[in-house]
């Protein structure tokens, strides 16, 4: 229960910061100023927006399928929020430390699609219907390259547990029960004979441990943009053609929930990318002979310093990825539907399949 509340608060905080950042970043990239009036530099703008939304009337269209319409936002948010349950925030802080976290996450996020379809269908609106269908088509197809990219990580790490995957990517490797005698080698190749177990830092991140995961990371990142309906894959919400896509009929609190779910999804996919590829809560600074940078910036597990450092690194890496998502949104034009499907089925999926195969071979080099 406590974990639930804490995660919810944390998520709300991040989403509010993100909504503000989105507007400021967009403005700066277009040589504008963004919000300036509410609070210092307009920083209270997104808080005020939420308050405004909560005061608005909750309109349910007369011709809507009322049950579906009312239930959909809750289902969408619940599906995304449930994903946070298996995210390890620090070395010893994880809302639900289950052994098949990766599998659970992929499964629970797919529920999101059902909610989207309910919202689009229930609205009894053509824009909403079109948006929902595009959204579902897009999310279902992009789950395949994303899933394959994640699979390659799972093959390298030989684990479905997010926490175990996190421990493998840093100097705390041997502290995880069951991994006491594991060793990290440079690029994961034992034959090179460079032991990086105690060097840690960036050298033990998954994209460094097995450099081919860098390709998997790019694939996952592109697919995750599509899964969270972000530009350049935002045809489900294309403002200029569909008004707002599946949530066009929503207002007030229900719209706020959908909005929250959308931004939570962005945060979630970035968190997963960080955990699987970019060293999770591990510090990026390696131990260099005398300079024990990694030790200094990891803190002591089980104490406050470990929690703070872990949370700091995880969140700062996540924010870098989130910033990249924002920047991409304000840089690239929207893809056409056929281009979207082309990219998914003819480019990303075959490459991801190849990566899975190579990841298996790489794993053989690692042991």
């Amino acid at each position: 229960m406590l974990a639930f509340l804490l995660t919810l608060m944390l998520l709300l905080g991040i989403v509010i910061v993100l909504a503000y950042a989105e507007r400021k970043v967009a403005a700066f990239m277009q040589d504008r100023m963004g919000p300036t009036e509410a609070g210092p530099y307009g920083s209270l703008q997104s808080v005020l927006d939420v308050l405004k939304l909560l005061q608005k009337e909750d309109i349910v269209p007369a011709a809507a399928d009322k049950k579906l319409f009312k239930l959909a936002p809750i289902l969408i948010f619940a599906a995304v929020f449930a994903g946070f349950a298996v995210i390890p925030f620090t070395p010893d802080l994880i809302p639900a430390g289950i052994g098949i976290g990766v599998f659970y996450l992929l499964a629970i996020i797919s529920l999101d699609v059902v909610g989207l379809l309910m919202a689009g269908w229930g609205s009894n609106n053509k824009y909403a219907m079109l948006g929902a269908m595009r959204s579902v088509a897009q999310i279902v197809s992009y789950e395949i390259p994303a899933g394959l990219a994640i699979l390659s990580v799972v093959m390298i790490c030989q684990s479905l547990d997010f926490q175990e995957i996190s421990y493998q990517q840093g100097i705390l490797l041997n502290r995880f029960p069951g991994l006491e005698f594991e060793k990290n080698w440079l690029f994961g190749i034992e034959a090179l004979g460079i032991n990086t177990t105690n060097i840690g830092g960036i050298t033990t991140w998954n994209i460094f441990r097995a450099p081919l995961l860098l390709v998997a990371f790019v694939i996952y990142f592109i697919a995750s943009l599509a899964e969270s309906n972000r530009a350049p894959f935002d045809i489900p919400e294309a403002e200029s053609e569909l008004v707002a896509g599946f949530h066009v009929e929503y207002s007030g609190f229900r719209f706020a929930i959908l909005f929250l779910a959308e931004y939570s999804m962005m945060v979630l996919v970035s968190l997963v990318a960080v955990i699987l590829f970019l060293g999770s809560w591990n510090t990026p600074l390696p131990n260099l002979t005398a300079l024990k940078l990694a030790n200094w910036t990891t803190g002591t597990v089980g104490e406050l310093s470990g929690v703070l450092w872990g949370g700091f690194w995880l969140l700062s890496k996540t924010f870098v990825l989130l910033f990249l998502q924002l920047q991409i949104r304000w840089t690239y034009p929207r893809l056409r539907v056929d281009q979207l499907m082309y990219l998914c089925w003819k480019v990303l999926t075959p490459v991801a399949l190849g990566i899975v195969l190579l990841a298996g071979i790489w794993r053989l080099l690692m042991v």
């Binding site: 970043v25 700066f28 990239m29 100023m33 304000w330």
Partner: protein, 201 residues
């Protein structure tokens, strides 16, 4: 040579390169966000030479100064106005309304030494109709009708767009009218008396 410049670049690395250069562009703008355009007037040398930074001006707090010969809200210095009605006649949209009352004696002098002989109980300019052509200011013999640099004077009620420049209250105007009527009566009386006197001769 010319042909190759229009040729579309294709291939994986070209695409990656163009994607990266796109990101570079937005990143450059993001990095320059700490710079701001200075609110310099258009006459300034640097007006067209500020390629970087945010272009937004937070208008009510800062504004670009307007050129000196810009044509904005009119102002009439009623003390210098000789109520010659030239401005009202030249105005292409008839937005100046002047009523004049002859004074019984000389009222005074304008600042350029012209004698004032007329009161203006009504001197209204309807800024909502005005097209800011500036003709009235050029014909004004005493240069009392001028353009000010004020351009932000929107009103909620359109009636407020009519500016009253008269310095007489309605009572004063009434008084002046009666004075004039009285003087004219006296003059008429004097005239008829003189006429009668001449007839008797």
């Amino acid at each position: 040579m010319e042909k190759s410049s229009v040729q579309h670049k294709t291939g994986f690395w070209e695409v990656v390169k163009s994607l990266l250069s796109g990101l570079q562009l937005t990143w450059r703008h993001f990095r320059n966000a700490d710079k701001r355009r200075a609110p310099v007037p258009v006459m300034d040398e640097s007006y067209f030479k500020q390629p970087e930074g945010l272009v937004t001006l937070t208008y009510p707090y800062e504004a670009i100064p307007v050129p000196e010969n810009g044509r904005y809200r009119l102002h009439n210095e009623i003390d210098d106005c000789i109520v010659c009605d030239l401005c009202a006649k030249i105005c292409p949209v008839n937005c100046i309304t002047i009523e004049s009352v002859k004074a019984t004696e000389e009222i005074g002098m304008t600042s350029d030494g012209t004698k004032k002989r007329l009161y203006a109980p009504v001197f209204d300019i309807d800024m909502a109709k005005c097209c800011y052509c500036g003709l009235c200011t050029t014909v004004c013999p005493t240069d009392c009708l001028t353009m000010t640099p004020v351009y932000d004077f929107a009103e909620v009620d359109i009636k407020n767009m009519i500016y009253h420049f008269t310095d007489l209250t309605p009572e004063q105007a009434e008084e002046k009218k009666q004075l004039l009527a009285k003087q004219q009566e006296e003059m008429a009386a004097a005239k008829s008396a003189a006429l009668a006197a001449r007839k008797q001769q």
